[in-house]
């Protein structure tokens, strides 16, 4: 008796999540977040002129500029990605609840996990695209500058009549400061870190009542995450040998399970110094990022599934 409806096919989790993710991405883009790229370009150009004081000889002057460019751009990437992932995540969920748009979405056959995952992926997509754009800008400028430094230094070395072996060494040293694979690894680490932060902000926003609260708590946890490892070490060494040792170990394990250790991402600084970032570190950080993202999203789901609107 009921007309058989033919226009719909029950979509899978992946396609539904991607619909919500693309929508969240569009929403954020239409909030004009990409304007910050202009600021980034300004910072990047300015970083060319921020010369660190030089104690070493003139031969390191060029290398310092390259470091300065990397340091400023990775710093700006960190700042933008952290702020973007916290604020965007903290904004999306309460906005849907307040505007009551959530009613119409959840009244469709949309599992709440798909909704949460979609929102998170939308934010991550935005962060990823922004980082990719910033990365392109940074690599472009760095490449230009590396070439300039290289020609300068090579000319200088040859004028001074350096032996060929030393010239090759200098060349390698300069190229190590340019756009290397490790630098891409560092940018990817920035992305991984912001995915941890975004999923953490998602978890907080499922039980917080306001965007402001979520933002503040997320930033706090981000900062605490930098001291987590030190605190843990200090606590454990103080407790060592006492009968509470096992309990202390349990507590710290629990803390590190919930609170990520952001010191793991200090490898980014060594990349700025020109060091190589081994592939296994990238793999390790990826696994850690995935672990926390999945852990937080499941925890968010656990809370959100019980929520009433």
């Amino acid at each position: 008796m009921n007309p058989v409806s033919t226009i719909k096919a029950i979509p899978g989790h992946v396609s539904r999540t991607s619909v919500i993710a693309r929508h969240a991405f569009t929403q954020l883009v239409r909030m004009k977040v990409f304007y910050f790229l202009a600021f980034f370009a300004v910072i990047l150009i300015a970083s060319n002129f921020f010369n660190l004081p030089q104690h070493e000889g003139p031969e390191s002057a060029g290398v310092n500029i390259l470091r300065s460019i990397k340091s400023w751009s990775l710093g700006a990437m960190t700042l933008f990605s952290v702020v973007l992932s916290i604020v965007a995540t903290a904004l999306l969920l309460p906005k849907d609840v307040e505007d009551r748009t959530l009613y119409t979405i959840l009244a469709k056959p949309v599992p709440r996990l798909d909704y949460l995952a979609g929102k998170l992926l939308g934010v991550l997509l935005l962060v990823f695209v922004s980082l990719a754009l910033m990365d392109i800008l940074m690599v472009g400028i760095l490449q230009l500058r590396t070439n300039m430094v290289l020609t300068d230094q090579m000319a200088m070395a040859e004028a001074r009549g350096w032996p060929a072996a030393d010239i090759a060494l200098l060349k390698a040293e300069i190229l190590a400061q340019g756009p290397t694979a490790s630098l891409q690894g560092a940018v990817f680490s920035v992305f991984l870190r912001s995915s941890i932060i975004a999923s953490m902000a998602l978890l907080i926003s499922t039980f917080s009542s306001s965007t402001l609260f979520t933002t503040i708590i997320s930033f706090l946890i981000y900062f605490i995450g930098h001291f987590q490892a030190d605190a843990r070490a200090a606590y454990l060494s103080g407790e060592a040998g006492t009968s509470d040792g096992i309990l202390a170990r349990g507590v710290t394990l629990l803390v590190s399970l919930v609170l990520p250790d952001f010191q793991l991402f200090n490898v980014i600084d060594s990349v700025i110094e020109g060091q190589v970032m081994p592939l296994f570190i990238v793999g390790k950080l990826t696994l850690i990022g995935l672990f926390y993202a999945i852990f937080y999203i499941l925890a968010s789901w656990f809370i959100f599934a019980e929520k009433e609107f």
């Binding site: 009921n2 029950i10 748009t101 009433e308």
Partner: protein, 293 residues
């Protein structure tokens, strides 16, 4: 011809002994928004839920859609438990005072909801176009929702509810904020849905319209269902007979009154213009409850 064994058709809506308490932060005592409400709507019926403000109409609908979890009791749509996602495959919902993403245009909004329901490509485009025409928003389809008026929001909400051709449509005050012409159009739309065999569950404060479109009505007061049934049964008054005259002169009415007076036992209760009887019923029932309390 061999007929498949008749399985019982599940009701479109089955709400049994629904109780919903809300925690209030100040008082210890939770607020009982819905108190032991049972509603059963068979496929093809148009059911109207009426009641004063704050009587629990919207809460009942939200429980049916799994947006709030029942404190006690059960809700099911076409036999599927409301707390499960698959119960929402065949249902469209228009919440009260609907609001949508203001950064999307009307067309993008419908596409978004269509995609959530798994409609794709050319089918989605056709369906969106068809619905925009149906709710008379084709002209505004490329404008951002942020600039829509209240009535336009209501209409895009209605289109959104119908996007996946659901078999059950739940409308929470579909005509609120819509002008008289638009409100009549929405009424006609509900008629159309009924003709297509689509079940409609609505609540409204416009009793005249509820009486026009609904075949079943429930009156809810302070969370309790106080009257429920077929509209015709509810508003029929068994020991009375209505005579509706056209172009009757006052003399004729006086004559009839005199005639009635001659018959022992019969009594002329009133003469005058016919009134919306559902409205009368509503007022009588809620006033009765009020005086009982």
């Amino acid at each position: 011809m061999f007929l498949p064994r008749m399985t019982e058709i599940p009701p479109a809506v089955e709400i049994s002994h629904l109780i919903k308490d809300f925690k209030t932060s100040f008082k210890r005592q939770p607020l009982r928004a819905v108190d032991d409400v049972s509603i059963r709507i068979m496929p093809g019926e148009v059911y109207g839920l009426i009641g004063p403000n704050g009587s629990g109409k919207s809460t009942t609908m939200k429980a049916l859609l799994g947006l709030v979890a029942p404190t006690a009791g059960k809700c099911a749509i076409f036999g599927k438990d409301s707390m499960k996602v698959d119960s929402r495959n065949e249902v469209g919902f228009l919440p009260e005072n609907p609001y949508f993403y203001k950064h999307l245009s009307g067309e993008e909004t419908l596409k978004f909801y269509g995609k959530l329901c798994g409609i794709k490509g050319a089918k989605l485009r056709d369906r969106v176009k068809q619905l925009l025409e149906l709710v008379d928003l084709s002209g505004a389809s490329h404008r951002r929702i942020g600039g829509y008026s209240k009535g336009m929001l209501q209409r895009i909400g209605l289109a959104q509810a119908l996007i996946q051709e659901p078999k059950l449509v739940i409308l929470d005050e579909p005509t609120a904020g819509v002008d008289p012409v638009g409100s009549r159009e929405i009424r006609d739309l509900i008629f159309k849905l009924r003709e297509q065999g689509i079940t409609v569950f609505l609540c409204s404060h416009l009793l005249e319209q509820v009486q026009e479109v609904c075949d079943h009505v429930g009156i809810i007061f302070k969370g309790k269902m106080i009257r429920e049934g077929k509209l015709d049964d509810l508003i029929a008054i068994e020991d009375q007979t209505e005579l509706i005259l056209k172009d009757a002169s006052p003399e004729l009415v006086a004559e009839i009154a005199a005639l009635v007076g001659k018959h022992a036992g019969a009594e002329l209760i009133s003469t005058g213009k016919p009134r919306t009887t559902l409205e009368r019923l509503f007022l009588r029932e809620t006033l009765k409850q009020e005086s009982n309390n």
